[in-house]
């Protein structure tokens, strides 16, 4: 382990997970930037996927350490309930045409009640693992549902679902990466790797080449024979 990190964890008592989370953030943010700028797929900004990733991460934490499957299971389950109740609440109130904020308030309330119901069912079924879930990840996911509904309102259902799926996909991918032990050891041994993210972003930030998606989008123009 890097001496500085070792000192902070062993001597000063900063939790290892906090250090991993903070040092992972630049890497996760870079992945999302690549996803948008180089691949060409959109997400709900950069904050939403980071929220989801760390919600998953929090859900996966147990006293004994990180449980990858638990995070994935509860994370996806919660996301499903959150996004589903949000779209149902939106669809149900669409026809009566409400103001934006009261409407969003209804949507978020429904989501909260939905999660509450899920907790109640879990408690009834005696699922202790889920009952003990932290509130922070729940809150993070609910916040993301606002962004989903905002897209839903502006660009329609299809766009909202595609963006949600794209966001969930990149989040799960990044989640798998940051829970990977090899990466943990790497970042604890070489914390300066986090700086690499900044350098990579400087390069991506000046990238003027095509996004991968655009090769498909402009295929018809690119493949036709025509000279200057």
């Amino acid at each position: 382990m890097n001496p500085l990190i070792e000192f902070l964890i062993e001597t000063k008592g900063i939790p290892e997970t906090s250090i991993i989370l903070l040092l992972m953030l630049p890497i996760v943010a870079t992945i999302i930037a690549v996803w948008r700028q180089i691949i060409g797929l959109r997400t709900f900004g950069i904050y939403a996927p980071i929220s989801i990733i760390f919600a998953f991460y929090q859900l996966g934490l147990e006293d004994s350490g990180m449980n990858l499957v638990r995070g994935l299971k509860y994370g996806l389950g919660l996301s499903l309930v959150v996004f589903f109740t949000a779209s149902v609440a939106h669809e149900a109130t669409r026809k009566i045409k409400l103001h934006y904020l009261p409407k969003m308030s209804i949507v978020l309330s429904s989501v909260a009640l939905g999660v509450f119901g899920m907790l109640a069912i879990a408690a009834y079924l005696g699922n202790e693992g889920f009952v003990a879930v932290d509130t922070l990840p729940i809150l993070l996911l609910i916040t993301v549902s606002e962004q989903m509904i905002s897209i839903y309102i502006k660009k329609g259902r299809k766009a909202a679902y595609i963006l949600t799926l794209s966001t969930l996909f990149i989040s799960v991918l990044s989640y798998l990466l940051i829970t990977w032990n090899v990466i943990h050891q790497l970042i604890l041994n070489y914390p300066y790797l986090a700086l690499l993210g900044i350098i990579l972003n400087l390069i991506i930030g000046k990238w003027t080449g095509f996004r991968l998606k655009e090769y498909f989008r402009f295929k018809s123009i690119m493949s036709q024979s025509e000279s200057d």
Partner: protein, 480 residues
């Protein structure tokens, strides 16, 4: 896909990353972007520079103004828009007002004042603006679409876009709302994007939806290529003038066409979309590079440069060689049913197929009254007949009657003119109606007089005035 070709052609096409970094950032300063993003500001600045825009009726800046707003001052036909709206969100077009005071949309749905107020409130709340920041509402006149577009645009108006860079028009297309897009001009929703040749103003390739090539208006035999956009030079000029007035270096300028007032700018975009490349089957990148750094001293020079550099020389040449379509002395003509009926049966427009005599001895096209009735003009003809104008007139009588009744008769929405026809049988006064017809695959509008031709062989003759796009081969019959 030929990989090497794709790699070579890649250099012609503009991608989003490059657009943002190399063209929007350096050429569209914040001040200029602010003008483009604010439709009221756009209107003010363009008007100051004498560039036509749809006329502003009123605006509402906040809730207090909304409460005290005098809704009765709105005309029966208007458009409501958010000042900083994105991608057409929050825009509603009202065509008329019913007796209960409801406004009527293109799809005939009725909207009450209360519903309009709710829309206005959600606009003020920022439902349609960037980052949901508070917005303003404005009302402007509804642009009345010219008749030539009627069969091309479904429940909406075609939106003509010119991309300008360095005061040179570099690419253009027209977006046509379709049934699939529900009257919206948004390609992602299924509208059609038809490329326009910069030098001639005539449409060429088209796509429907995001990338699907398309040749005809769906469900019809209306060809998307070959449509000539009226006032083309004026459009190009206004586009450059708008660029000069706002300081946008790289912009997409959107026009609507008004039946009487001609082209008007409805929107400036500081972030031109890239799908125009797909309609044009050509990239923006090489055009931007070619236009870059040229010194454009005047608007006229910018128009000329655009036409010379980016106009389709090849198509022009082909047109010059093959020239006009050759037709015989008798041709099948498809006459389209009056538009109201067409609107409902959009899928397959009602047409009457008749034998038409190509008559270079006549100036004006003539259509049999029974045929006109079949095409939905019964009401117009009944209206005309109410005036009981006799058949056999002298020249001076005809002139006198035309003067006396002309204005009243032309008040009817279908009758555009009266014509005095001298023939061997004497002089008659006949109503003139616009018909959309297709002959030998070419679709256009003719202004024809309507008269009883039931005793004649051909229910329609086409006169010189409506034959300018053809060459007539007198040995031929029925071209297609």
């Amino acid at each position: 896909m030929n990989l090497i070709k794709a790699l070579q052609n890649r250099k012609r096409v503009l991608g989003i990353n490059e657009r943002n970094l190399r063209y929007i950032r350096p050429y569209n300063r914040r001040k200029a972007k602010r003008i483009a993003d604010n439709k009221l500001l756009t209107k003010i600045i363009l008007t100051k520079n004498e560039i036509p825009v749809p006329q502003l009726i009123a605006s509402i800046g906040n809730y207090a103004e909304l409460e005290s707003f005098d809704w009765n001052m709105l005309p029966s036909s208007f458009v409501i828009k958010p000042v900083t709206g994105l991608e057409g969100g929050g825009i509603e077009i009202f065509y008329n007002r019913d007796k209960q005071g409801n406004w009527i949309k293109a799809d005939r749905t009725r909207v009450s004042l209360e519903q309009i107020k709710t829309l206005a409130r959600s606009i003020l709340d920022g439902k349609f603006s960037l980052h949901n920041s508070p917005d303003k509402v404005f009302f402007e006149e509804r642009v009345k679409m010219p008749k030539i577009f009627k069969y091309y645009a479904y429940k909406g108006a075609p939106d003509i876009r010119i991309v300008v860079f360095n005061n040179i028009p570099i690419m253009s297309y027209v977006r046509l709302p379709t049934k699939q897009s529900n009257g919206k001009g948004n390609l992602a929703l299924g509208a059609i994007g038809a490329a326009i040749d910069i030098s001639t103003g005539i449409t060429t390739n088209a796509i429907i939806g995001k990338s699907q090539p398309v040749e005809f208006i769906p469900g019809t035999n209306l060809r998307l290529s070959g449509l000539k956009i009226p006032y083309w030079n004026r459009i190009l000029r206004y586009a450059i003038e708008a660029q000069k007035a706002t300081g946008l270096g790289f912009a997409a300028i959107d026009f609507l066409m008004d039946r009487e007032k001609g082209p008007m700018i409805v929107e400036l975009n500081a972030r031109p979309g890239l799908s125009i490349q797909l309609s044009n089957k050509d990239g923006l990148k090489w055009r931007l590079e070619k236009a870059q750094g040229l010194r454009v001293k005047s608007v006229a020079q910018g128009v000329r440069l655009g036409k010379d550099l980016f106009g389709g020389e090849i198509e022009e040449e082909v047109e010059n060689i093959t020239g006009k379509q050759v037709i015989g002395f008798v041709e099948w003509a498809n006459l389209y049913h009056k538009e109201e009926n067409l609107e409902e049966k959009r899928k397959k427009p009602e047409v009457e197929k008749v034998k038409a005599k190509i008559d270079t001895g006549a100036m004006i096209t003539s259509v049999d009254s029974n045929l006109a009735v079949k095409l939905g003009y019964k009401e117009a003809l009944d209206y005309f007949n109410k005036f009981n104008i006799p058949d056999n007139l002298t020249r001076s009588q005809a002139k006198e009657l035309s003067k006396r009744y002309g204005a009243t008769i032309e008040n009817h929405e279908d009758i555009v003119d009266l014509s005095i026809i001298h023939s061997s049988h004497g002089t008659t006064l006949r109503p003139m109606i616009l018909f959309m017809i297709t002959i030998s695959g070419i679709k256009y509008e003719v202004k024809a007089n309507v008269v009883d031709r039931s005793r004649l062989i051909y229910p329609m003759i086409i006169g010189r005035r409506d034959l300018s796009q053809f060459i007539i081969d007198p040995t031929k019959k029925f071209n297609a």
